[in-house]
């Protein structure tokens, strides 16, 4: 028997669990959660370790999204092409994309980057053998700016050596183009390099180096670890089928989807860059606390409608928003507050899901009716998993009746999935373990999910 401890340092809470591993089967022995101490991450880490009775001999895994996670500024050429491919690659590496720049960088962009430097700058642009002038200009602008941030170049490979020469004074890493040709993306080399740079350079700045020193375990960015884990579930357990996972936090909502990649047929025209089988999106303006006011702004029509149905005035809801904005650990007390919380969660859920899924539009042509499709088609997805603070606790939450599709440009969200809840919030912890014990972690993950009462989508 082996003892395994997995810890995830989140921006608000640090969670951990002790598992025992017997013959490739994991059993949960104990779990613990304490508030994250951003000034000294070792302190909250140690406390969780202590509570899990760390005296016992154990193997340790950990991940972190504390201190704003991993912040990347992405630079590309055309917004829908290389910039979009660069953004996707950064997000799939577990990063939060803090800035996006298309075409030529200007002086203002450079001063914004110098004032508020990200952890990594991802420079892309041009397919292989394609555009050169924009990248050369952007590299020269970065060189002039004397920015200390590491730069990863993932653009047109034909000018790599020129980029190297221009950025000779910068910490530069050159990888394969994120978009070698318009028909194929190549995010893996960029992802791998981001992870390497995160480990060697960024852990120290985030205060994770003390933990590495003490435990000699290497940290993973939480969303990176999660994406790899979901890939493994999708691969090792084909019986589980296509699924989506929604991780709703205080500041952001992450959506992951496995499957749903569609292609052109005789009546469907697929547009846009090719989509990955396993995809992550992150919405920085969809969250239950820090981003609650932004949710109200973005989803105003939906929220106002829900408030009307619940017979509650908007002003009272706004008052509640101000309350939770000032105190991110506040939990609802009164009956009204519980309703507000539910309305907010529904808006986050449906808003993030709609942005993640693709769209479909009917087009009438002289040759008949065609469907113009963009992004992933998740309508047939059989399972939907909820995790993260609110979703883990609220088993009665039913996200399906809030995901109404709009009429004209139909959103390709799951139509009638079964809803499962990761009640103990174990997925991020199992994700860390899955790097070494994939089979055990995958089976445990599916086992801990509890199925909520099935709901059929009301309106589509």
């Amino acid at each position: 028997m082996k003892n395994i401890i997995s810890i995830d340092i989140g921006s608000t809470y640090t969670k951990g669990a002790l598992f025992s591993l017997v013959e490739n089967t994991l059993s949960l022995e104990k779990s613990a959660s304490v508030p994250t101490t951003p000034d000294n991450l070792l302190s909250c880490f140690d406390e969780v370790l202590e509570r899990l009775s760390a005296k016992k001999k154990h193997e340790l895994f950990f991940s972190s999204s504390a201190k704003g996670g991993l912040k990347i500024a992405a630079i590309g050429l055309v917004p829908e092409l290389t910039l979009s491919a660069a953004k996707e690659a950064a997000i799939s590496a577990g990063a939060r994309v803090s800035e996006l720049y298309s075409y030529k960088l200007c002086e203002n962009d450079i001063s914004a980057l110098s004032k508020n430097p990200p952890d990594i700058i991802l420079l892309s642009g041009g397919t292989d053998g394609g555009s050169e002038t924009y990248n050369l200009h952007n590299a020269a602008m970065l060189a002039k700016a004397d920015i200390k941030t590491p730069v990863i170049y993932a653009g047109n490979r034909c000018i790599s050596s020129e980029i190297e020469r221009i950025l000779s004074g910068t910490e530069l890493y050159i990888v394969e183009n994120v978009l070698p040709g318009l028909e194929m993306t190549s995010p893996e080399p960029t992802r791998e390099k981001i992870r390497e740079v995160f480990l060697s350079k960024i852990t120290a700045g985030k205060g994770l180096d003390k933990i590495v020193e003490k435990t000699s375990a290497e940290p993973w960015p939480t969303p990176y670890s999660m994406l790899e884990y979901l890939k493994e579930i999708y691969e090792f357990r084909p019986d589980f089928g296509d699924f989506c996972l929604v991780d709703m936090g205080g500041a952001t909502t992450d959506v992951y989807s496995c499957g749903g990649v569609s292609s052109s047929s005789s009546t469907v025209i697929q547009k846009g860059l090719p989509e990955p089988q396993v995809k992550r999106s992150v919405e920085g303006d969809m969250g239950m606390r820090k981003s609650a006011s932004a949710v109200f702004e973005n989803m105003n029509a939906e929220i106002s409608e829900s408030l009307k149905q619940a017979n509650l005035p908007v002003s009272l809801f706004e008052k509640y928003l101000r309350k939770i904005d000032g105190d991110s650990s506040y939990l609802p007390q009164t009956e009204n507050e519980h309703v507000f919380e539910k309305i907010l969660a529904e808006a986050c859920f449906s808003g993030s899901m709609k942005r993640h899924a693709g769209t479909e539009e009917e087009i009438y042509t002289p040759q008949g009716k065609f469907m113009l499709r963009k992004g992933k088609d998740l309508r047939e997805t059989g399972k939907l998993i909820g995790t993260g603070g609110y979703l883990a606790k609220m088993k009665s939450f039913s996200p399906l009746d809030c995901m109404k599709a709009t009429e004209k440009k139909s959103s390709l969200i799951p139509l009638a999935p079964d809803y499962y809840v990761d009640e103990k919030y174990l997925f991020p912890l199992l994700a860390n373990i899955s790097f070494k014990y994939p089979e055990a972690a995958v089976n445990k993950g599916i086992e801990v999910l509890s199925k909520a009462k099935q709901q059929v989508l009301k309106c589509h």
Binding site: L77, V78, E80, L81, T82, G125, G126, T127, G129, G130, S131, E132, L179, G181, L182, S264, I269, K271, I363, Y364, T365, P366, Q367, F370, L372
Partner: protein, 143 residues
């Protein structure tokens, strides 16, 4: 010198895909690097692809008779996006009904297309003209 890059596609709500595939194979055979966007391509998609791939020319096809409406403002949009000098070709069944070939050519030339082709054109000739036009444009650029 590297082979010239061309962006190819059928514009507007036109789903005729057979000719598009033939053009792709033909121009590849003539040593062009072909970026084929397929059918139902919008103006901005042609321009996006041309910027990203550093294309030398955009070849617009239209078969369903609405080519004139679909191509309105194409050159202006290219200028707006920094592709002032890109070579624009258009070809196919460009208008509805019977219309003098010469009138069609004039109409599209006025819209800023460098060359206009009707369905009876010889592809060999198109390839030769295209190479010549691209060569001339490059010579102007470097001089």
């Amino acid at each position: 010198m590297k082979n010239p890059t061309i962006v190819l596609g059928v514009i507007g709500a036109d789903c005729h895909s057979v000719g598009n595939k033939i053009l792709e194979k033909f121009f590849e055979g003539k040593a062009f690097i072909v970026v084929n966007l397929g059918v139902m391509v919008k103006q901005h998609e042609f321009i996006d692809a041309a910027i990203e791939t550093g294309a030398d020319a955009i070849l617009v096809s239209s078969l369903y008779g609405h080519g004139e409406i679909d191509c309105l403002g194409f050159r202006e949009n290219c200028i707006e996006r920094g592709l002032e000098n890109i070579i624009l070709y258009v070809g196919g069944n460009l208008v509805v009904g019977k219309c003098e070939r010469q009138l069609i050519k004039e109409k599209f030339t006025q819209m800023g297309f460098n060359r206009v082709f009707t369905p009876d054109c010889d592809l060999e000739e198109v390839a030769t003209l295209l190479k010549k036009d691209i060569g001339a444009a490059k010579a102007v650029k470097t001089s």
